[in-house]
């Protein structure tokens, strides 16, 4: 209803209904200037400050990203270098192990050769000792058997008359030794 009433303004009036009053323009203009001035004084610095802070934060983030990137690149370089070191260390360890294995093998061979020589010498000595012992035992056994045989032969030879003669001989010899 209002719109209809606005459209239905009287054309005879001096000022168009769409234009404000001069005083309103003045007041409005002053108010607008005050508002713009206030905005310029208070809002623009805050906005600038916020914008600067945001720029600074973004810059910091960019710097941090750049730092992270360089750090990551350094780490990557270090890792590559470490990988290289590991390879060289691996090669060195393998070389050491091979050298030690070769030394052990040579030492083992030398010791084995010495032990074989020692065992051979001991076996030769044992064989010689056993032969000597066998010879001694044989000699002793022959002596023992010879003794037994001699005893038996003499016992068979010593008949009663010989025994009596030996007794009489003993008595006579002891008597003669007075």
């Amino acid at each position: 209803m209002n719109h209809i009433s606005l459209l239905a303004v009287d054309p005879a009036q001096s000022r168009h209904w769409l234009f404000p009053e001069p005083a309103e323009i003045i007041y409005g203009g002053i108010a607008s200037l005050i508002i713009f001035a206030a905005l310029w004084k208070f809002a623009v610095p805050a906005f600038k400050k916020a914008l600067g802070a945001r720029t600074e934060r973004i810059q910091k983030e960019l710097d941090a990203s750049a730092n992270d990137l360089s750090k990551a690149q350094a780490d990557a370089t270090q890792i590559r270098q470490a990988l290289g070191d590991i390879e060289s260390e691996k090669a060195r360890l393998l070389a050491d192990a091979k050298a030690q294995a070769d030394a052990l093998l040579a030492d083992g061979r030398a010791r084995l050769t010495a032990e074989i020589a020692e065992l051979e010498a001991k076996a030769d000595a044992d064989i010689a000792a056993a032969a000597s012992r066998g010879s001694d035992e044989l000699r002793n056994e022959i002596g023992r058997l010879a003794g037994v045989a001699t005893d038996r032969v003499i016992a068979s030879v010593l008949d009663d008359s010989t025994q009596q003669a030996l007794v009489e001989n003993f008595i006579a010899k002891v008597g003669a030794s007075r």
């Binding site: 003499i154 010989t162 030996l166 007794v167 010899k173």
Partner: protein, 175 residues
């Protein structure tokens, strides 16, 4: 066993035999038994085996010499064996024989022979040893086949060796 105990047993056996009035017979029989004890491993092991009861060992002694030896001899040997002194029987008997000989002012002469000696040979041998040593001799003859031939006489610390065994051993050692 200590020498004191052996001496004690010898003195006791000697006094018993002397009290019984047959010291010469007992002494001679004990001497022969002691030599048999020394030479026979079987007899020695039987009479010294602690696993065999004393009564059984004494019965062995009586079976062995009961029929031939004097009753006093059997009783004395049974006493020694029954008291578990069988191992010392030869030592006890030797002390007893020395004590018996000393009581008669005699020196014990042990003669080992391969064959038994006649009484006449023993008498001549005792006379010869008496004249050589200057002591009255109580001759104890032991038949020892290991002598082979001849005699070995031991009077105190003196040994007169005329055995074939010793001559043979000398020849063997020289060889």
């Amino acid at each position: 066993m200590s020498d004191n105990r052996i001496e004690g047993y010898a003195r006791a056996l000697f006094e018993i035999a002397r009290a019984e009035g047959n010291i010469d017979t007992v002494e001679a029989e004990l001497y022969q038994l002691a030599r048999a004890f020394e030479s026979s491993d079987a007899l020695r092991s039987k009479l010294t085996d602690d696993q065999i009861p004393a009564a059984r060992r004494q019965a062995i002694v009586e079976d062995l010499i009961g029929a031939t030896a004097a009753n006093t001899t059997v009783q004395l040997v049974s006493l020694v064996i029954g008291s578990g002194r069988g191992r010392d029987l030869p030592a006890i008997v030797d002390k007893l024989v020395r004590r018996a000989s000393s009581s008669k002012h005699l020196e014990v002469a042990e003669v080992r022979s391969a064959v038994p000696l006649t009484a006449e040979q023993q008498s001549r041998l005792a006379a010869t040893l008496t004249s050589v040593t200057g002591k009255q001799i109580n001759l104890k003859v032991v038949v020892d086949p290991s002598v082979l031939g001849g005699l070995v006489a031991t009077v105190g610390d003196t040994v007169i060796d005329g055995s074939v065994r010793t001559r043979l051993d000398n020849v063997k050692s020289r060889l």
